[in-house]
């Protein structure tokens, strides 16, 4: 497991308006029919991007001006719904590394962190400002500093919410937890032997 520490992320942003963007909207259930995560980026927000017969609905992620964006700006309770890791997998495979929202559903947050997607929070008013900024100037450069907990965009610096555990994991390069867990093997064995139940 070779990972890189995530200290700063730079790039442009795409606005995905709305609260409670659930995992069924991030990736419709029919795309869960797969045995690998490859190619899931194409399914991101599929039913919001394409209507009957594949007719494009003009979703911002398809707009040429937002091509190559690395940040998603959205509303409150982002990622609610199912535990499907397919949702953050689709997001990262479509090229996005940072999500700015009002709040995140817990399982989604955990899944995203493990994959190295940085989920940060900002209050409604500040997100509205950023939304307006990228609508006016889609090429505005965003810079997230994980260490300093700041986001700079449009000549302004915002202090963002980022959970301590996640922040530390990004900086220490321990966000994929498996190596750490494996190193506790003996303690796990000891605990298992003491447990009141087994099958």
């Amino acid at each position: 497991m070779k990972l890189e520490a995530i200290k700063q992320v730079k790039g442009t942003a795409v606005p995905v308006a709305g609260d409670d963007i659930d995992t069924d909207r991030i990736i419709p259930a029919r795309y869960l029919k797969c045995v690998t995560f490859d190619g899931l980026g194409l399914a991101l927000f599929f039913d919001e991007r394409f209507g009957e017969g594949g007719k494009p609905l003009g979703h911002p992620v398809d707009a040429p001006e937002y091509k190559g964006a690395r940040f998603i700006i959205s509303g409150n309770n982002f990622g609610c719904g199912s535990s499907r890791e397919h949702a953050p997998q689709a997001i990262i495979r479509a090229g996005y590394d940072v999500i700015i929202a009002g709040s995140f559903a817990e399982i989604f947050f955990g899944n995203s962190t493990t994959l190295g997607i940085v989920c940060v929070t900002l209050p409604d008013a500040e997100r509205a400002e950023l939304m307006a900024l990228v609508k006016k100037d889609p090429k505005s450069e965003f810079m997230l500093d994980v260490e300093a907990r700041t986001l700079t965009a449009g000549g302004k610096t915002y202090s963002v919410g980022i959970k301590d555990g996640a922040r530390k994991a990004f900086l220490d390069c321990t966000y994929d937890s498996l190596a750490q867990l494996l190193s506790g093997k003996d303690q796990v064995k000891e605990l298992e032997a003491k447990l009141a139940y087994r099958f």
Binding site: D20, K33, N77, P88, D176, L181, L195
Partner: protein
């Protein structure tokens, strides 16, 4: 100060604190299914790892499996591939697989409890958000993502931070035909779809104590719909009685011994909570949702509220309903009884009791999908299948079916379904314009019979 169940179970399973500030938690029981596990096994192979404790992982298939027949290969080649993957993975890594031939296959959150695998005082994890269901036994049960499924397979542990605990008390007795489904829809409506973020919900109070295990599972199942990843109920005699004689439950003397452990992990009378909320059971009516998240629901006698935010506006637009509308009288096209929320034997008994001697309205397609083979067999032994089919329901093979429509069971166009499942998200039931109304099994039967949403108490009971 005493401790609550969450704290006690957490302590017993805490391996250590990690440098990241998170905890390494031991998972006593791991359940897997065909949709969120294949990538995890692929990662294990890539890393050359084994399953650390194969006797603590159990598998079933539920999401993609067709419910109109079991002939192999499945008509959908992707479904067939996923089925073969779980067959191969469980065989190669030495994991017990409840396949259709075993007679125990079904929705993972129904199979675990009915096999007696889920027990009080355990930590349970499954790559599925409705894992909270198992909390009905007084277990701490987490829905996890595929990378965590990999972690649990490889180490039987995962990284997680402890939750705060909110006591959710339901005082008094529930009214006639008011079920635990109505209780949870009421709680979510009041506390909001993200009201539970960061919390485990401890459900308690007279109404909860009076519930059967099946009803308790319905309640905990939807904790996640209120943003709480974990929901649980303290174990009591109802719990112990349910477990007695189940295949994986301890037997004889061992059962009595284990019971001591089960009792010991219940919340102390003077336990501390981070928050307490109280609801009056008598204020809860049969519920129905009108929108696109589970918080957008009302009691059957109420009208759809005026939109207070964009989500509500969006919901009304999508559902093609108006503020001020009554849900009573809204025509339905489909009725779906099943899922890990309401696909247990008691749900079918309850539905059949009211369905008996009646017929489904001619324009309604009605599906009854038992949550497992065990539920199906029991129901058939009691003749419930006859009641359903004579009324005009399709009586199908067990699986998730139209709950998320990964198999061929799905809505068409903007059809409206009265569903006993747990999610009314846009497109959830297989059509990107399909509409879902979440209801209890009694309300679902009432809607199927009348052809529209109706107050079940008016047609089935003395309540006028």
């Amino acid at each position: 100060m005493g401790k609550n169940l969450f704290q006690k179970v957490w302590e017993k399973h805490l391996v250590r604190e990690l440098p990241s500030g998170q905890s390494q938690l031991f998972i006593g029981l791991h359940l897997i299914h065909e949709v969120t596990s294949p990538q995890a096994f692929a990662m294990l192979r890539e890393l050359g790892l084994k399953v650390a404790y194969p006797d603590r992982t159990y598998a079933t298939c539920d999401h993609i499996i067709p419910t109109d027949g079991r002939e192999r290969p499945f008509a959908d080649p992707m479904a067939e591939e996923m089925m073969q993957a779980i067959e191969r993975n469980t065989k190669e890594f030495g994991i017990q697989f409840f396949n259709p031939e075993s007679g125990a296959q079904g929705v993972v959150h129904i199979v675990g409890p009915e096999q007696g695998l889920t027990q009080p005082g355990m930590t349970v994890a499954c790559g599925d958000s409705h894992t909270a269901t198992h909390g009905a036994f007084g277990a701490i049960a987490f829905g996890i993502g595929t990378s965590q499924v990999r972690d649990v397979l490889a180490t039987q542990t995962m990284t997680i931070s402890p939750f705060k605990v909110r006591k959710v008390e339901i005082k008094g007795k529930l009214g006639e035909m008011v079920t635990s489904k109505d209780v949870i829809l009421h709680v979510i409506r009041k506390l909001g779809v993200n009201g539970g973020l960061g919390y485990a919900y401890e459900f308690c109070g007279e109404a909860v104590e009076n519930m059967s295990m099946e009803a308790r599972m319905t309640l905990c199942n939807m904790a996640i719909e209120g943003g709480a990843r974990v929901g649980y109920i303290n174990p009591d005699e109802v719990t112990f009685e349910y477990l007695k004689g189940r295949p994986y439950a301890p037997k004889g003397e061992e059962f009595e011994k284990r019971k001591e452990y089960w009792k010991s992990i219940a919340s102390d009378p003077d336990a501390e909570y981070d928050d307490v909320v109280v609801f009056e059971a008598s204020e809860i009516e049969p519920m129905v949702t009108w929108g696109i998240n589970p918080e957008q629901g009302i009691g059957i006698s109420e009208t759809i509220p005026a939109p207070k935010n964009d989500t509500m506006k969006e919901a009304l637009e999508y559902m093609k309903f108006g503020a001020g509308d009554k849900m009573e009288g809204k025509k339905i096209d489909v009725c779906f009884i099943g899922s890990c929320t309401n696909g247990r034997i008691e749900d079918f008994r309850m539905a059949a009791k009211y369905l008996k001697g009646r017929r489904v309205a001619s324009h309604v397609r009605a599906l009854a999908v038992p949550g497992s083979y065990e539920v199906k067999a029991l129901a058939e032994k009691e003749g419930l299948d006859v009641i359903f089919t004579e009324a005009g329901f399709e009586w199908r093979e067990p699986g998730c079916s139209m709950c998320l429509a990964m198999n061929p069971d799905r809505l068409k166009g903007d059809q409206i379904s009265a569903s006993t499942s747990n999610r009314n998200f846009k497109g959830r039931q297989g059509s990107s314009t399909g509409r879902t109304l979440l209801v209890s099994p009694v309300m679902a039967v009432a809607a199927a019979v009348e052809g529209c949403i109706t107050d079940c108490r008016k047609i089935f009971g003395g309540v006028k």
